[in-house]
């Protein structure tokens, strides 16, 4: 029986889809069987980031409405045996899915996969309710901006209310130089406000965008800093105690993060 994780943020554009693709792929790299679900109905894009767009025949709405079997809609990633994608629908809208159907689909996928990673749409309306319905755990993605942190706070409140008790935090697109100059919220500050466990910090990395365009998750490359950060996140999900990586040659940041990470144990 696998674990279903929803990746959510409230605010759009903070990197939910990129994080879903990379965390999912990183777990597959570690030998786990992983199924990614794109729950952003109508704004399908996880398949694009994964480079699997041209192989879609059926989607999650077809499964939910009984037009095909679940196995028919699953796209196996050619790079890994254990990685699959259940794509969103491009044409139907969000009302085509309801929480009960998604719960059934996720429960079925959990039988066959170690991890089911659900990419949640932005916002806190119907799409969010549906995407979180079948999840056992939640990962909240935020960026070091006030608006993103505020929305993350709101989302954590909603997750806790719906019974997803201890969501984990991923801080995306951090720029150590800006943090040091005081132009960006620092990690310490964000973790204090949100008061949930920090799962990882992903540095802002231009290569991520380049890889997105090629349809290749960043974790498949060894040269990017973001790649290492996502691999570390995957290992922490599996229970390894991996220290937060040094984002730049600055001892202050490292010491601060280690303290943060140590504080929760």
């Amino acid at each position: 029986m696998g674990t279903a994780m929803v990746i959510t943020s409230g605010k759009g554009g903070v990197g939910k889809t990129t994080s879903t693709a990379n965390i999912g792929t990183a777990l597959a790299l570690l030998g786990k069987r992983v199924c990614l679900i794109d729950a952003d109905i109508g704004l399908r894009n996880l398949d694009v980031v994964m480079g699997l767009e041209n192989r879609i025949i059926y989607d999650i709405v077809d499964v939910a409405t009984g037009q095909c079997r679940l196995e028919q809609a699953l796209i196996r990633d050619k790079r890994f045996d254990g990685l699959a994608l259940l794509p969103a629908s491009q044409t139907k809208d969000k009302s085509a899915l309801d929480a009960e159907r998604v719960r059934t689909i996720v429960a079925e996928l959990k039988q066959a996969f170690d991890f089911v990673v659900i990419d949640c749409p932005a916002g806190i309306e119907h799409g969010f309710q549906v995407a979180t319905a079948g999840a056992d755990e939640a990962i909240v993605v935020t960026t070091p901006e006030t608006a993103a942190v505020r929305d993350a706070d709101r989302v954590i409140g909603l997750l806790e209310k719906s019974g997803l008790r201890s969501p984990k935090l991923v801080i995306n697109r951090i720029r150590p130089k800006m943090v040091r100059a005081g132009d960006m919220l620092d990690i310490d500050e964000i973790v204090q406000v949100l008061s949930i466990d920090l799962l990882g910090v992903v540095p802002d990395d231009e290569t991520v965008i380049a890889h997105n365009i090629k349809g290749e998750p960043t974790v498949l490359r060894n040269d990017a800093k973001a790649s290492q950060a996502y691999r570390n996140i995957a290992r922490r999900i599996l229970g390894d105690a991996v220290p937060l990586m040094v984002l730049e040659e600055e001892p202050g940041v490292f010491a601060r993060m280690r303290r943060l990470f140590g504080g929760r144990r």
Binding site: D153, S195, G263
Partner: protein, 236 residues
Amino acid sequence: MTVRTADQSQTDMRPPVSIKGTKGGLLFLLDEKAPHKDIVEHLQRLLCGDLASLFNGPEVAVYVDYGARDCSREEIREILHLFLEKDNFRVREFGQDTTARKMMFHNHREPGRPHSIYRGTVRAGQQLLFDGDVVVIGDVNPGGEIAATGDIYVLGRLRGLAHAGCQGDEQAIIAAAEFAPMQLRIANWVSRAPETDGRPLRTTMEFAYLREDGMAVDKLMYVQSVRPEWAFHPAE
């Protein structure tokens, strides 16, 4: 051996008339359960007996509240006369449920006021309302709102909106370990936080607890890791 209950001893010890000093003068509270005879005797001793000189002096406003007692018009008149006989007494109020009595209890606050403890973070978008006083063990985040008909104490960072005395109690207070609220409201007053040259005050509340290897001190936000049963109670 006789056993006296707490109740008995109280009625025995408490005189049938109690006198409170208020801002405007003296408030006489007559025990509504005491018999009329006792009250009259007590008042006579008080106002005309040995101790009467205590009440002599400059003019003083007097408020008399005899509570919800059953008494005839004659009995009431008898009591009123005792007060009118004192030259320097100016009887301002005489009756039951007087405003003087209400003011008295309003200022002293009823001891049985409800209070609540909220454990967890009040997050953006959450609105919590409590009857009476509330203690928040956790933070009130920006965008979060907490309101209480009484006082609000935040054992954490107050960075959202707090509304104490939300049904008009102007005596209510708001306290926080770190005071950086977005907005403060007490009764019908609205205010913004005192500004400390742009940066919030840097104070952290900590708590001590025992571990296998001895005593440890940690930030209060981690109290749930020691008491997992405290893990938040989401508001309905």
